[in-house]
């Protein structure tokens, strides 16, 4: 079924490195924000998501914690990593795929060599209404995030390298000098 097929794809993915372009459009199709960046993902739960100026942001996850470094604001927010992937749905790619079934209902649609997986969160309070992962044959090709206000963020990947060894330094974050830290971890 759709969930099993999507999980099979997630389980095949040990690591991924790609460039991406991200475009956010409002419900009338007007472009609100356009940016590009690089994504590195590795199991379990590791990720590095870096966007270029003028919207410079770096998100690093070591599988336990997520650091969201906003260079404009000179601010780092630390959160626990859990599937409430509010700000960065890409975390789902390296997260514990077993939790996908608990947190989302999954639908699959096939068109030629494209297969698209639509994830609707079971917890309605999430910031986004649904997520889409689109594969071209075995390769992840793009993602779409549909948010509550009808805005659609499309992320298209390029120069994708899957299951290659990744530099684990990429998933370590040390807080730069003079930057404010917001500790958003929930007390354990």
């Amino acid at each position: 079924d759709a969930l099993a097929n999507f999980l099979a794809r997630l389980q095949q993915l040990q690591s991924l490195e790609a460039d991406f372009t991200q475009v956010t459009r409002d419900n009338a199709g007007r472009t609100l924000q356009q940016l590009n960046g690089t994504l590195t993902v590795a199991k379990p739960g590791k990720m590095r998501w870096q966007t270029a100026a003028p919207y410079e942001q770096l998100v690093v996850s070591d599988g336990e914690l997520v650091w969201i470094y906003d260079m404009d604001l000179e601010q780092v927010t630390i959160r626990n990593m859990d599937l409430r992937v509010q700000e960065t749905p890409a975390l789902l790619l390296s997260g514990d795929s077993a939790q996908v079934g608990q947190n989302f209902t999954v639908a699959e649609s096939l068109q030629g060599d494209f297969s698209r997986y639509q994830l609707t969160p079971k917890d309605r309070s999430q910031l986004f209404e649904k997520l889409e992962f689109q594969y071209q044959q075995q390769q992840l090709e793009s993602m779409r995030i549909y948010d509550a206000a009808g805005q659609i963020t499309e992320i298209v990947f390029a120069r994708i390298k899957t299951n290659k060894p990744t530099d684990h330094q990429a998933f370590i974050f040390d807080v730069p000098e003079g930057v404010d830290v917001i500790d958003g971890r929930h007390e354990l």
């Binding site: 404009d72 509550a148 404010d180």
Partner: protein, 177 residues
């Protein structure tokens, strides 16, 4: 060369800032409250005593608008059929957003000058630019000053107090005086 540095020191800077009554500022706003933190985009338009704030949430989760003047304030939030009124903007923000947000002071702080009334302690750079300010129980830190339209204006403003932290990274100033 000298023209790139502010002229007239602290007094020169403050007198010039007092000339600015019609402006707009746009940028990214981070709000840390006692129980959450959120980042959005803020556009603030000021014409004499008339203010108009437009705050767009993260991932486009709707936008809020706060407008008014010395006599009256009005707030509209996503999903409200019509706006709410009150005497002060601070009252509206506290009641409906749970933010202790000193709108009437930030109108001055955002330019890099103390608000006109109340006790102030402040530090200035040797070029006369405000770097730190304590007023009405808040602490404000300034950085990334840039020359825009003949004025030296801050690029990053950090306001903290009463368990709240507002950080405003300014992307654009528009001066209409």
């Amino acid at each position: 060369c000298a023209a790139l540095l502010p002229q007239g020191g602290k007094e020169g800077q403050l007198t010039r800032l007092n000339e600015l009554h019609n402006w707009q500022v746009r940028g990214k706003l981070s709000v840390v409250t006692p129980d959450d933190s959120v980042t959005g985009y803020l556009t603030w338009q000021q014409q004499q005593d008339q203010y108009d704030l437009f705050i767009a949430g993260p991932f486009g989760s709707g936008s809020s608008r706060l407008q008014g003047n010395r006599q009256q304030a009005e707030l509209s939030l996503p999903g409200w059929p019509q706006p709410q009124q009150a005497r002060s903007p601070e009252q509206l923000m506290l009641t409906h957003l749970g933010w202790n947000f000193p709108v009437s002071d930030i109108r001055y702080w955002v330019k890099g000058q103390p608000s006109p009334n109340g006790r102030v302690t402040s530090q200035y750079s040797d070029q006369g630019l405000l770097t730190q300010l304590q007023q009405h129980g808040w602490e404000i830190r300034y950085s990334r000053y840039q020359q825009r339209g003949g004025y030296w204006l801050p690029g990053l403003i950090r306001i903290s107090g009463y368990d709240f932290r507002f950080t405003f990274a300014i992307q654009e100033w528009t001066l209409n005086d």
